[in-house]
């Protein structure tokens, strides 16, 4: 099975043709550099994305609606690239979270999300600056 991909490593945007060879290696054509071949192999065998979203703040800690400067959600992301096929499942887990404040930037909110080995972390400290910082 051959697949068409557009390389996103640099702005050249090479049109790649990717297929699996008989020995199980990924064969790429259309790339103008080795980084394109590497990207094609990853994107073909195990596409991953850094996923960002926002999580609910626990009701007791949440600001009043309409409060000036209020931040109603905690921004989060995966600490590294996460398997694309499982993003929907991950988002369900994120949307089920109730984050207690204070929260620190980089704090792990879901360790080893869905057993992938990738953590979900907060990307903002609330409040900022953190008390005692």
């Amino acid at each position: 099975m051959e697949r068409d991909l557009v390389c996103v490593v640099c702005p050249m945007s090479c049109a790649l043709k990717v297929r699996l060879g008989e020995d199980g290696t990924v064969l790429t054509s259309g790339n103008r550099c080795p980084r394109g071949a590497r990207y094609a192999a990853e994107e073909f065998l195990d596409p991953r994305r850094v996923v960002s979203a926002t999580a609910r703040i626990r009701a007791a800690d949440a600001p009043e609606r309409g409060e000036v400067g209020a931040v109603a959600r905690v921004p989060v992301r995966t600490a590294g690239p996460f398997p694309r096929e499982r993003i929907a499942e991950l988002l369900e887990a994120v949307y089920a979270l109730e984050v207690a404040l204070p929260v620190r930037r980089g704090q792990v909110l879901i360790p080893d999300a869905l057993g992938t080995g990738v953590d979900l972390i907060a990307t903002r400290s609330l409040p900022f600056p953190p008390a005692g910082a």
């Binding site: 557009v6 996103v8 640099c10 702005p11 050249m12 945007s13 994305r49 850094v50 996923v51 960002s52 979203a53 926002t54 609910r56 000036v68 400067g69 209020a70 931040v71 109603a72 959600r73 921004p75 992301r77 694309r84 993003i87 988002l91 930037r105 980089g106 990307t123 903002r124 400290s125 900022f128 600056p129 910082a133």
Partner: protein
Amino acid sequence: MTTLKPDAVVVGGGAAGMAAALELEKAGRSCVIVEREEGLGGILMQCAHAGFGLVEFDEELTGPEFAERFAEKVLASKVTVLDGATALELRDEGERKVLDCCSAKRGVVRIEARAVVLAMGCRERNRGNVRIPGSRPAGVYTAGLAQRLVNIEGVVPGRRVVVIGSGDIGLIMARRMSWIGAKVEAVVEILPYPSGLTRNIVQCLEDFGIPLYLGHQTTRIFGKDRVEGVEIAPLENGALDLSRARTIPCDTVLLSVGLVPENELSRGAGVELNPATGGPKVDSTLMTNVPGVFACGNVLHVHDLVDWVAEEARRAGAHAAAWLRGERPGPELRVKAGANVRYVAPVKVDLSRKNRVYFRSLAVLHGATLEARIDRRVVRKIRKGHVQPSEMQSIELGPEDFADLAEAGSDAVLEIALV
């Protein structure tokens, strides 16, 4: 009324303002940042997606992470932060610049400083700016406003979305809306090529099967109380082909149709603007025509990477500190945009030192060569390969490039061209 008398005042507490203020402080200058929002960070705080900081920190961070790293440095420094405060007017009073501000917490604050760094960033172009006909129902947002609603205020702006314009904010919002469970019906771009990065086309549209209509204009927005749909039509050789118009039902329209530097304060202070960038015209020290008033970041020209904003803002801060010490630029050479170049910033270079000039191409070019010419004499040639308008470019030029300028005469011009 409170009066503050720092050496310098920085207007805006986003990436540019923070980087400039830290540089002023490093040079031993007292400095106040005026920020309209509660807290520092500016537009970065609503950019929940990753992709910031590859140059600055060698990591791929989200907007709030990038901003907090700078904000921690600012709060640990002697820089005074006046947040939740709106800057109303900037004017000269003799040797001093006076910035009038007002805030709910502190009332009217008058800031008297000898140097000012403008770092107010941009505003989004809106429906009025691009003149989309039709009715005026609820549900039409700029992409950045929708981003703020979703990422900070926790409000879902709609369920069936059409994004007009293929700038990066629009593409990122297409993914964001998909991930919060909305259906993005289409992205409509008037140009024959996307305005955003290929990476975003792949990861924000193709991953979700969102159709991208290139070379299509939005000819109407339908709906009485709430948006019910949009009509789009293809452009053939610059003319609308209404026979091939189609209607896309939706309840929400997001506009990602460009950014314009926020110039109200600058205009009031008599700052001359550059029609090519929409921001102030600045010399080799990033100083505007008003002595002591500098500009950097998106208020100067729209950047695509915050890393370049920080780089430029540090230079603006350092130049402002130098100006406060009484230093003035050496002899300067005018810079202009040549073939296939939309703009250059700054519009002057200092002949006695290295200068970084940012520019954007006018079109997508393959196998392009960058030429720096002084009065048609090529002084530098760089192979660029692929260039496109959505990727800002830069070139560094120094004294070696300006050798034997004497024969060129005093009205010589440096031209940046892509051939």
